[in-house]
């Protein structure tokens, strides 16, 4: 019972870590324009780093 919890817990922590690192990584200046253009509320993907 402990191993599945550890595996899932490890993967969740990995995801959270990568999500935070991705959020902290600045979007390159030359890509700002294209990113601003697609910013929208149309898709409900909570993991999307482009949404405000």
């Amino acid at each position: 019972m402990l191993i599945p919890i550890l595996v899932i817990g490890g993967l969740v922590l990995t995801y959270m870590g990568l999500y935070i690192l991705n959020k902290k990584t600045p979007i390159p200046e030359e890509c700002r324009e294209i990113v601003d253009k697609v910013k929208c509320g149309g898709c409900h993907n909570f993991a999307c780093s482009l949404k405000d």
Binding site: P4, I8, T14, N22, T25, P28, I34, S49
Partner: protein, 201 residues
């Protein structure tokens, strides 16, 4: 294992068991990102990249961890987390080191987290390719080639569909059929057309 096996895996995944038209996976980007050919190409490239890497990672995790510890029942949850993490990682690396690639793929990467075609390929690799007796290297290679074929099939269909939709935009379509209805009719005809490829292997 000869190259014929790998070639067969690619052609079969690309044309015969096409992920969109035969398995009905990845319908969301198929309809949502196929209005313009340029968007379709960007999405296809991003899907190809993530699908191949995700297949290799999920196959490895299944073979080395889930099977070894006798916990294959958590494979779906584990694969979802692996794919979501992989997308975040790829996006971060592209932002940092490959600005040109981020410019062309970056805006499509977050959408891939919710693309069920990626999860579908990872799951089908385990149910159709993985066996206890198959050596890890061979299974991994077969899974990667299957993912490559599947993503090429995804790209082929989404590109063809976007080209047809662009053409339809400038065509004289009855008002009631404009937009999504005529697109769905086209998708249905494409699906029937691809049934004809069943006998090529």
């Amino acid at each position: 294992m000869s190259w014929t096996v790998f070639a067969t895996a690619i052609i079969s995944a690309m044309l015969i068991n096409n992920v969109i038209l035969m398995q009905f996976l990845g319908i969301c980007p198929f309809l949502g990102v196929s209005k313009k050919t340029s968007s379709a190409i960007g999405m296809s490239a991003a899907v190809m990249f993530v699908m191949v890497v995700a297949s290799a990672v999920t196959y490895t995790i299944y073979d080395l961890i889930l099977y070894e510890f006798n916990i294959p029942y958590i494979s779906t949850i584990a694969f979802i987390l692996v794919i979501a993490s992989l997308v975040q990682f790829v996006e971060m690396v592209l932002k940092k080191y490959s600005k040109s690639l981020y410019k062309s793929l970056g805006i499509y990467l977050p959408l891939i987290t919710t693309n069920c075609a990626i999860l579908g390929v990872s799951e089908s690799n385990i149910s159709n390719i993985w066996t206890e007796s198959l050596p890890y290297g061979q299974g991994l290679a077969l899974a990667v080639f299957t993912a490559l074929g599947t993503s090429l099939g995804f790209g082929l269909i989404i590109f063809a569909f976007s080209s047809i939709r662009e053409k339809l935009d400038s065509s004289n379509v009855p008002d009631a059929w404009k937009g999504v209805p005529i697109s769905l009719v086209v998708a249905g005809i494409m699906s029937v057309a691809f049934l004809g490829l069943n006998g090529i292997i």
